[in-house]
């Protein structure tokens, strides 16, 4: 345990080929939360993300040897935070959708005693447009997960979230690395472990990098996978330790 870090939070930025936008995200973090440490997890990027973070100099960077997905990248971040004794972790996406100005609002709720705080769209602030199908699926997910998590959640697929030290300890071991595991299933894992979950309304910004997933076919696939993930999460036993 590093005592200096015990009262500090870590911002984890999972990044996969977002080198165009990443520097501005880092700059905004410097501006809004200069006192927080920032860790970029380069998820096997091929666009020199690691070098860009090093050149920027304001953040630590951990480089995965190949792309393992957001869930795995975040688990790496949680492991890092746990081993370095941070008191909380805030996930901020590298595509610029999450406003670094909201980071402290999320952390305030962690200080108030919540274990997982979601920066939620659809919660009254800002407008965020998605297709009908996707919106219906998101609502369905929200209602179901809310029931399990015993909290009223309106946006369970948001990646913008803060985790307390307790949640970091849990997620470092059991963050589901599969599709949607980092968002939907992780909430179920947290809810089952008895962690308290809440949300803070945030305004999402236009993504400035990457390509958003849209289109009818993609939406249908998304809905199908979401329902499957949710169904599996409901019948999952506690994730077994891999230790034979």
């Amino acid at each position: 345990m590093d005592q200096r870090r015990a009262d500090r939070a870590l911002v984890v930025v999972p990044a996969w080929n977002e080198s165009e936008v990443l520097p501005s995200v880092l700059a905004e973090l410097r501006q809004h939360v200069p006192h927080l440490d920032v860790l970029v997890v380069d998820d096997g990027s091929t666009d020199g993300t690691t070098e860009i973070v090093r050149a920027d100099g304001s953040a630590q960077v951990v480089t995965l040897p190949f792309n393992i997905g957001v869930g795995g990248a975040m688990r790496t971040g949680f492991l890092y935070a746990e081993r370095h004794g941070y008191r909380a972790v805030v996930q901020v996406d590298a595509d610029g959708q999450h406003d670094p100005a909201d980071v402290l609002r999320l952390l305030e709720q962690v200080d108030a005693g919540l274990d997982v705080v979601i920066g939620a769209r659809f919660a009254g602030v800002g407008d965020y447009h998605v297709g009908f199908l996707r919106r219906a699926a998101m609502r369905f997910l929200s209602v179901t997960v809310s029931r399990i998590a015993k909290a009223k959640l309106t946006d369970v697929t948001s990646g913008f979230r803060a985790s307390s030290a307790r949640a970091v300890g849990l997620f470092a071991r059991e963050y589901p690395p599969e599709y949607l595991g980092d968002t939907v299933e992780s909430l179920i894992v947290a809810g089952r472990a008895g962690l308290s979950i809440g949300q803070v309304p945030v305004q999402l910004r236009e993504r400035r990098g990457g390509t958003p997933s849209q289109g009818v076919v993609k939406s249908i696939v998304y809905v199908g996978r979401a329902v499957l993930v949710l169904g599996l999460a409901l019948i999952h036993s506690t994730r077994p330790r891999d230790e034979d």
Partner: protein, 122 residues
């Protein structure tokens, strides 16, 4: 003639399994299954009476139906086992990748002012 083909096939699988085991190419946990299969195959072809008796006892109208049913079952089990193994390997390699990334980070931090290696990525 038909039984000769069966015997040869069974023996070939047996030889292959043993040879792969001998070369350490096949782990014993998978080998047991294949050895069992080839032994059963050889037994049935050398002693066709066994197959007929067993299939009658189990209520199969044709002995070959028993063979097909068994074959399908075996493939199902093998496929399932391989899926399990692949999933476990995937999970492990992912965790190793995470540990590797963290270790590399710590190593570079320890090196301090030294230039970070450029050949760390391929």
């Amino acid at each position: 003639m038909q039984s000769l083909v069966g015997v040869i096939a069974g023996i070939l699988v047996l030889i292959l399994t043993v040879e792969l085991l001998r070369r350490h190419a096949l782990r014993e946990k998978y080998a047991v299954l294949w050895l069992l299969i080839s032994l059963i195959g050889v037994t049935f072809t050398v002693f066709p009476g066994v197959l007929t008796t067993v299939s009658e006892k189990l209520g199969f109208s044709l002995p070959s139906n028993l063979v097909f049913a068994l074959a399908a079952l075996v493939l199902l089990v093998v496929g399932m086992q391989l899926s399990l193994e692949v999933g476990r390997l995937e999970d492990r390699s992912q965790r190793l990748a995470e540990e590797l990334a963290l270790l590399r980070h710590d190593l570079e931090a320890l090196r301090g002012d030294e230039q970070p290696e450029d050949d760390a990525r391929d």
